[in-house]
């Protein structure tokens, strides 16, 4: 089975591969299909005899979710938190990674190793002290507290990834620019950053993904309805008095779709990030 693309296959092997591929596709995608189809299925059909394909489609859950619940607010909160996390992560990790790669200092390995190590912290080892600190300074239950918590995951990730990226970039490029009269900052802004766009996009994507999908930190940091993010809001729908699977599946679909769309458009960055072992999951 480990042949490259060169081997000839018997019809039997071919059939086996198509079968296996179909099994992989079904295994990976069926739950997602079921989520989406449940969000479009009339309640009565859902309660009685759900068939594999809905007999009729409805948008009622999307309507009720958007018009009659806090979902739009939660979606906005998630978006604000994720975008702020991405922006701050980018600035901080670019500065640290670039500084570490280009400045001659002792123990730079220790810094990068420390980042990797920080990446291993149990979320609760940070969540408990962060929560008590936020309470002390009156920041508890705010979106900002969530952004700061997410930075504890995204910043080490960004530094680690960009460090590898900057390290691979030839120093001569900057030197040439500086010889041409650029300051170091100028060389950094005009030469290094533009060349780093693929790395930056990858970090941005994964920082967004981490923040957008986080439940654990949100559970600890956020108390009030007004500040809930979508994962937290969806989770509390299930403990509510009235179960609306349709609403929950519609809410899930709405939060998953932007991720799928981003994946389709940017899949090469995803693979790049993953193969660099970049993302926590």
């Amino acid at each position: 089975m480990t042949t490259g693309s060169t081997g000839r296959r018997s019809p039997f092997a071919s059939a086996a591969i198509y079968l296996a591929a179909a099994a992989i596709a079904l295994y990976s995608a069926f739950p997602i299909y079921w989520m989406i189809s449940s969000s479009l299925r009339p309640t009565q059909e859902m309660l009685t005899a759900p068939s594999l394909v809905p007999s009729r489609l409805t948008l009622q859950y999307y309507y009720s979710l958007l018009a009659q619940t806090d979902y739009p607010q939660q979606f906005l909160n998630s978006l604000v938190v994720a975008l702020a996390t991405v922006a701050i992560t980018m600035v901080l990790s670019v500065m640290i990674a670039y500084g570490v790669t280009r400045q001659r200092i002792r123990g730079k390995k220790a810094i990068v190793a420390g980042m990797l190590y920080a990446y291993m912290f149990p979320p609760l080892l940070l969540a408990i002290p962060l929560y008590t600190m936020f309470a002390l300074v009156g920041l508890n239950d705010t979106l900002l507290s969530l952004v700061i918590s997410h930075l504890t995951m995204t910043m080490p990730l960004g530094v680690w990834f960009l460090w590898g990226f900057f390290k691979a970039m030839p120093f001569e490029l900057e030197e040439a620019a500086m010889v041409d009269g650029c300051t170091r900052l100028g060389a950094f802004l005009r030469v290094v950053l533009p060349l780093s766009v693929p790395g930056l996009v990858t970090v941005a994507i994964f920082a967004f993904l981490l923040s957008w999908t986080d439940y654990t930190f949100a559970l600890v940091m956020i108390g009030s309805d007004a500040n809930k993010t979508v994962p937290l809001g969806l989770a509390s729908m299930i403990g509510a008095f009235d179960l609306r699977w349709g609403d929950i599946m519609a809410g899930s679909t709405l939060i998953a779709l932007p991720l799928f769309a981003a994946f389709v458009m940017l899949s090469r960055y995803f693979v790049q990030g993953l193969t660099a072992g970049a993302v926590k999951g």
């Binding site: 309660l47 008590t132 002390l136 009156g138 009030s224 179960l243």
Partner: protein, 441 residues
């Protein structure tokens, strides 16, 4: 579930200052603590926990009406009941108290009353006649205005009873037989939650109360495992073990909503819940709605019936705004109470007996349609032979101790010890009693 505590740690500041100095740097990120609301002439702050859509719309409407009539602004915050008490105490501590709040535990009412945070509401409650076991007065003072009973009763399917020739059972044997008779493929006999959650606490133990089990004696000693109670509690566990095979998979995960969707979806013949079942069935599955009726929980031998309450009420806090808050409460509980109850017409089962005869209340289409069930529910709270109780109201008088037993899920764990771990009933009871002593001892 457990997100009860989001409390500040202000008093720890002195001791932990050194260690948290780094954390204080976070404050430099530019966002200061939320500004304190100015005192005096401030709006009435109202904490609501009824988060149904119609109820939320009701509060939006009446706060505008009240402001138009009196010029007094009302701010309503809505949170799930599980978070309410923390909100209330946080507000008190941080100097921004709520003036009126929704409370779902008598234990919490007592805690607040003990510390002088809430004021008696006798001027609002005294004029009326109330249902059984709902006001919980302390030395004659009533500290809350209960607005619903939320009785957990057993719903059953009339059509299935007819089909199988069953009658409403009076004994555990009869109930088990009916559950077994109605199992048919994916159609199951019943569903009673057994997981460590509020739903189990509320829905699964009234059989045991009907059998006469009590958790505490008059001196607050745990008596669950004494010679009178233990056989009864063990018999209850044996009974649940017989019911368990008639349930669909998932009783351990079942929450309020699971039971609701199973009853409404018609997949179980018996299931516990309050009036919301009828509202949800009307909305999602009218064919089943026609076939639902209710019965109380019964004991082993047909002597006694019980229902479990999950009441809710409002308290008025002792603040600089109490006078205005009382005015608002008077208006809410006289001029607007019926409108409020109509936002979940069958589910908000009235606590005041006069409401059951109120024409405006009865005019609601769902209430008139289900008048039979409502009459049964009324008898449950006015007939003294019916036991109305719950884990958190056990004991000789209202107290916070049974609340701890409730919140630590001691009783659900007793069920799990029996049904999942397979301990003997006697052992499961012993473990539960030991756990209770640990909690309240």
């Amino acid at each position: 579930m457990t997100d009860i505590t989001k409390t500040g740690l202000v008093t720890r500041r002195r001791v932990l200052q050194g260690a948290s100095a780094l954390g204080l740097g976070l404050a430099m990120t530019g966002v200061a603590a939320p500004a304190l609301r100015a005192q005096g002439g401030r709006p009435i702050r109202f904490l609501n926990c009824e988060t149904g859509r119609d109820t939320l719309a009701f509060f939006d409407r009446i706060k505008a009406e009240y402001e138009a009539q009196t010029g007094v602004e009302v701010v309503v915050d809505s949170v799930p009941l599980g978070e309410a008490f923390t909100k209330i105490t946080n507000g008190i501590r941080s100097g921004t108290p709520y003036d009126i709040a929704n409370v779902g535990f008598v234990g919490h009412v007592l805690l607040l009353a003990d510390e002088g945070h809430i004021v008696p509401l006798n001027e609002l409650t005294d004029p009326y006649e109330w249902g059984n076991n709902i006001l919980f007065p302390v030395d004659g003072k009533v500290y809350w205005y209960p607005f619903d009973y939320n009785l957990s009763v057993i719903y059953y399917r009339k059509d299935l009873y007819e089909k199988h020739g069953l009658t409403v059972p009076d004994t555990w044997d009869g109930f088990v037989a009916n559950c077994e008779a109605t199992v048919d493929g994916r159609q199951k006999g019943c569903l009673f939650p057994i997981g460590s959650n509020g739903a189990t606490n509320w829905m699964s133990f009234a059989f045991m109360w009907a059998e006469g089990v009590e958790l505490f004696d008059d001196a607050w000693n745990v008596v669950l495992d004494n010679e009178t109670m233990k056989p009864k509690a063990a018999a209850y566990l044996d009974f649940m073990e017989r019911l368990y095979p008639t349930m669909p998979p998932g009783a351990i995960q079942a929450d309020y909503a699971t039971v609701l969707s199973n009853i409404v979806g018609g997949t179980i013949a018996h299931g516990p819940y309050a009036g919301r079942v009828l509202e949800a069935a009307e909305r999602d599955n009218p064919a089943v709605a026609e076939q639902l009726d209710i019965m109380p929980y019964m004991d082993q031998s047909g002597q006694r019936k019980a229902v479990s309450h999950g009441y809710d009420g409002w308290v008025v806090l002792n603040t600089d705004n109490t006078g205005r808050a009382m005015d608002f409460m008077r208006w809410l509980t006289t001029d607007r109470l019926i409108d409020f109850l109509h936002t979940a017409p069958v589910h908000f089962q009235p606590t005041r007996l006069d409401i059951y005869d109120n024409d405006q209340w009865r005019s609601n289409p769902l209430i008139s349609k289900y008048s039979g069930q409502i009459e049964t529910m009324r008898r449950m709270v006015s007939d003294d032979s019916m036991l109305v109780t719950s884990i958190d109201t056990q004991g000789p008088h209202p107290d916070t101790r049974p609340g701890k037993v409730f919140e630590a899920f001691v009783m659900p764990e007793m069920l799990q010890d029996k049904l999942i771990r397979g301990l003997s009933s006697a052992e499961a009871v012993d473990r539960a009693a030991a756990r209770m002593r640990e909690l309240v001892g």
